[in-house]
Symmetry: D2
Subunit: 392 residues, 4 copies
């Protein structure tokens, strides 16, 4: 029997979802400007403005605690929240839940000392400082195989000296500090490094195919980068384990938000085929179009169920390593299929930038690579099954 | 907060699932004989013997009421039950939940009068009589389009006279009575017809590619088939609606059991690649094999989630027409992909009948056609979405 | 028995192919600058410079007649020529065979009067003027269904007045004249219109996802656009037939050049996986990578054979309508699969703009839509087969 | 310039093709009896009868020399010949070109001594004796990896003694002699062994999913199997090389004939959808059906071109190892897609055995495994490309 409390919670949740959807539809999406896909200042200005409105409306910060002005939703509830927010290129930044900040907050909440929390976590939560997570390295360093990590941290009298070469560090072009993954005697270890440290040099912003990717993908040199002893985050030697854990959460959020982006693409395309005629009837009456729409919705249906299932497992604190891999492969490929279909049935307008569709496609394509390429996950999933490490 | 009752239910459920899995593994599968895929007597004898053991063990009849010796599981709980049972070609018949009997019991429970229940439902439940559902007709009659129904029932002084031509009537070769779908003045109507009615003639058993398909797929002529006035099941004119409703349930059970069959195929294949070496290593160490195994498990994961979601909707008495279509398309194609992969990684043994794999493939292939071909569902799903009849 | 002439031709052909490949590799590709994907002036300057070198080397103008300084290759020989040239974003423009000029020259050669040839064809061939082909219209005009054409040409005392709205007119932003498709009393008719005609107004360049697409995709208004009586190209009323014929040629050239672009993507990616290590071995040693490379090469193999077959049919002056449709569907989808694979196995670098891969993907994606979307062709192919208009 | 001889050849070829097609359509296919898919005597009787008619009509033996009553077609010409013959389950056997006899004749023509030719080749050619090729072994022997061969041949005073265990030896249930692949001191070596040798014991016929697979797939024990010194075929130690060469030819013939079988499936299905109505129109008017038909014909188009290309390379005596692998992967998968589509659009009749479609599917499925599974070829193709052993 469902209690009154549960009923009331359910009602509150639906009301929040309704208001959030309205906010995204009425405030966020109308502020998008497809011609400013690479305009960092405009993006920063617009999302800051939206964040203010969202905070006032009690819609901001899905994972932040109430004392930080957030909603502290469960992982399961984040599914509908992130799907709504993810519909817009501006959404996650506007609502205080964009990567890399979102997963960085999650790890800092668990690992930061009080001093570290004051210096890094609280300003990050407040939107006053921005973070990035510096793990990936150019060849022959850590790419899809984290064991190949080459960045080192050497202990000195005053603390540590970090040396290494990182790249594709998302958000680093606007970050105020970095979580840096480096190898010490104890094993792989995490460090907090301020972006104005003289030993941390952002060489350049690597251009990628993504639009509205405002924090960039920086190439960074750490050269004789001196940090104090208390720059270590968490315990030394547990960095790979932390990275895996951070990644599982980050990956889940990406799935949630990209389901939203792909859904928007399909709805936009559906609107188009319901207007445009060809060979005597609406495109929507063409059976090949109906079939493509059907496949897209089957993909979205499965993607939502799988995302929700992994979120529920996290809420129950189950291990999700295996399911998280399956989720990543399925959802990253499904949302790309969906967006590709949206482009295709919209024809020439679909590849134009009059509509957001081809930009959505460009935004989604890297997700089949970032957070572990599909092939890396497939090999890992297959091995786990075949080595009987999991019971299907 | 979960109550003690819920905890105890949960524990009972897990114990039942464990015992059922053991029964299928220890009693049912060992009785399979791949060389008797078309031996009707052996099948009947073996499943009757198994049914007796299952009843004694309290494992029989997932949807039957306790007074009929059944478990009366919810639709959600049927998911794990049917998956276990579906692992064996013999399982559904042995455990009292094979089609067409299972969905016919469901409709009779809702529609049968007391007299009809005594004559048809109770013996069906007891395993004393067998049913079939006679809807499909050869061209130009009702195939994938039920509106093309041509079988007629004409009112007479004593009752009704049915005339028509049916085929691909599953189970009809061994059925004791049929639910016959015919057109009357009131519209499409259901009738109960005894198989020994002189006006109902089973012309032949249409051979199909399926093994262990014991009830056959009969071609039936109804010629001047006289039935009494009370042979009508349910209300006249509501036959299409009933058929849709029967189909949604039947389709869901097929999804559940075929997930079991496909899972068994994969586990069998996994056992093989963990034994067989090629090019210096176990096949299980070949990355292409790992990738195929991964895709199969991702398919099964999504298939289980979608099946469970539709079952939960039925338990909540939600409309499932749209989800049921998406489920049918996805699961019927997913289990075929999985079984195809199982065959492929097992190589020549996979296409042999030393192992059950190619027979599983033959059993699953028609499911992409029966209960509505994928293309029919795709067009229907697409139309519903595009005509905004559903909110995604 | 092959004659000496044939042997000598074969030798000349191989020598030309070798020199062309060298030219593309040594001169054209090194001049590419990925940061200038939208720099029209740079593109114009660079390709003009390259054209000069190519002319001097006797490599320019595959379809131009020798008197125009060209090679007048057969359609079959164009296969290897365009594949080489197509490897570079700059190639077709640099070698005098880019669309829309290339197919416009082809139609002018057949249809232009002597006066029209002097005014339009010869300067086009000489690279002194540029053309565009104005057929596509916004809804509710001619998109994938040419019968929906709404632009009209009305006869006057002095000639014709054209009124209509066109868009996605490739190359129109830099064109000196347009071939305009309009409806007259006689049916669909072609007109030659100078770009400085006051009645022809380029409203804007529609932004699309393609890089290095220098002529743009213009939206054009024809408003009271007056042209003389001799502006008609070919015979009045045969415009749809001409358009189909122009399209078949244009489509074939696109297939040829995009096979080159996709091949380059794969070779670039192969170079990458032969350098980069992961999980202890080169990426090239990962079987999943090998499998993806294999599929890409199978696709390219089939794409080349199909392209060559259609070219041979054109050389024999066979009808190619059916084969041209199959070719378009297969090659447009195959080159996209190949480029997608190239991006995927190159990982984060693949989606970056440090390498050309993601730009190649963006260049190829619209080809599944332009020249007839895959779905339009599929329906047409299926109908032709089913209506027995062709013998398979 | 084409000579008169060429013109006359071309005309003869077309006439032969026309007569062959007529023979298959009028004589061979009408003799098929789908209820006798496992009746060895009926098959033998019927194909022998047909062979007689074919010989009389000058249609028999595409690769046999004229003195053996054959046509001695080039590999290229075999493409159309085998496609026609392959349309029927009975065709290859009836026209003297079924495996394993066809490829065994090819290797014997190259390798047999005069004595061996008299004893094995000539009777094989005449249809008086039948052969099989005994290479595959159960684990841990030679399956997809021929290097794992375990069967041995030990030299004795009188000749050789062969010991080993073979299985899935196609045709062996009716063979009069076997080419046995065994390991000697010199390496892998081929032997000719009469089926009545006391040391060669056919244990059983392994049942597989294929219908009309009349020679079976035998499991064979070689136990102290004594053969004379001159039982060696070819040179000792070159067995792997011979096997590869035999396989390339056999694989090509399988591609040719299975294109025929898949084409027939599609034409049968096209006939069906041109008769059957659903939702108000012929199935042939449903766009989803048109799209599936289109994809099938694109697959067949590519499959024919690739098969013809490899045949031409063989006629030119080029190396075909790489192309042969690509061909095998593409065609084996393409014909399965085509047959699957034929079944699907034919609905319930498609999975019945009233029509040949599901039997065609069962016949084609193993081809993705026999002659090297797709995955083995994919890894090999990928490696060759990546190791730069071939120039694409």
């Amino acid at each position: 029997m469902r209690s009154n409390v549960a009923d009331s919670n359910q009602k509150n949740r639906q009301e929040l979802e309704r208001r959030l959807a309205e906010f995204v539809r009425e405030e966020v999406i109308p502020r998008e400007d497809l011609t400013r896909a690479h305009d960092r200042d405009w993006f920063q200005y617009t999302t800051t403005e939206l964040a203010g409105i969202a905070r006032a409306a009690g819609l901001y910060g899905p994972r932040l605690t109430p004392e930080h002005g957030g909603l502290r939703l469960s992982w399961s509830d984040c599914c509908w929240y992130f799907e709504q927010v993810g519909r817009s290129f501006l959404g996650p930044a506007a609502l205080g839940c964009a990567a890399p900040g979102q997963p960085d907050i999650a790890v800092l909440e668990h690992l930061a000392t009080e001093v570290q929390a004051r210096r890094y976590l609280h300003p990050l939560v407040a939107g006053e400082r921005r973070s990035c997570f510096a793990m990936t390295e150019p060849a022959p360093g850590a790419g899809s195989d984290p064991k190949m990590l080459r960045t080192t941290a050497r202990r000195t009298a005053e603390g540590w000296v970090i040396d290494g070469h990182k790249w594709f560090i998302s958000g680093a072009m606007v970050a105020d500090f970095a979580i840096v993954v480096a190898r010490t005697e104890e094993g792989v270890t995490w460090f907090l490094v301020d972006a104005d440290n003289l030993g941390m040099r952002r060489v350049r912003d690597i251009p990628t195919m993504e639009p509205f990717d405002i924090g960039g993908h920086a190439e960074i040199m750490f050269e004789n980068c001196q940090v104090p002893a208390d720059a270590i985050l968490g315990q030394p030697g547990r960095g790979l384990e932390y990275s895996q854990w951070r990644l599982e959460g980050a990956r889940l959020f990406h799935c949630m938000r990209f389901i939203g982006l792909a859904s928007r693409a399909m709805e936009t395309a559906q609107g188009y085929v319901n207007q445009r005629r060809s060979h005597g009837v609406l495109l929507a009456e063409h059976q090949l179009v109906q079939g493509m729409v059907a496949d897209a919705h089957i993909d979205l249906y499965a993607a939502r169920l799988m995302t929700h299932d992994v979120a529920q497992r996290l809420d129950r604190q189950d291990a999700i390593r295996h399911e998280s891999s399956m989720l990543k492969v399925f959802v990253s490929e499904a949302v790309n299929r969906v967006a590709d279909t949206a482009v295709q049935i919209t024809g020439a307008l679909g590849v134009s930038e009059d509509m957001p569709l081809s930009m959505i496609l460009r935004m989604l394509r890297p997700f089949r690579i970032y957070d572990g390429a599909s092939e890396v996950h497939r090999a890992a999933i297959g091995k786990r099954v075949l080595h009987r490490q999991i019971t299907p």
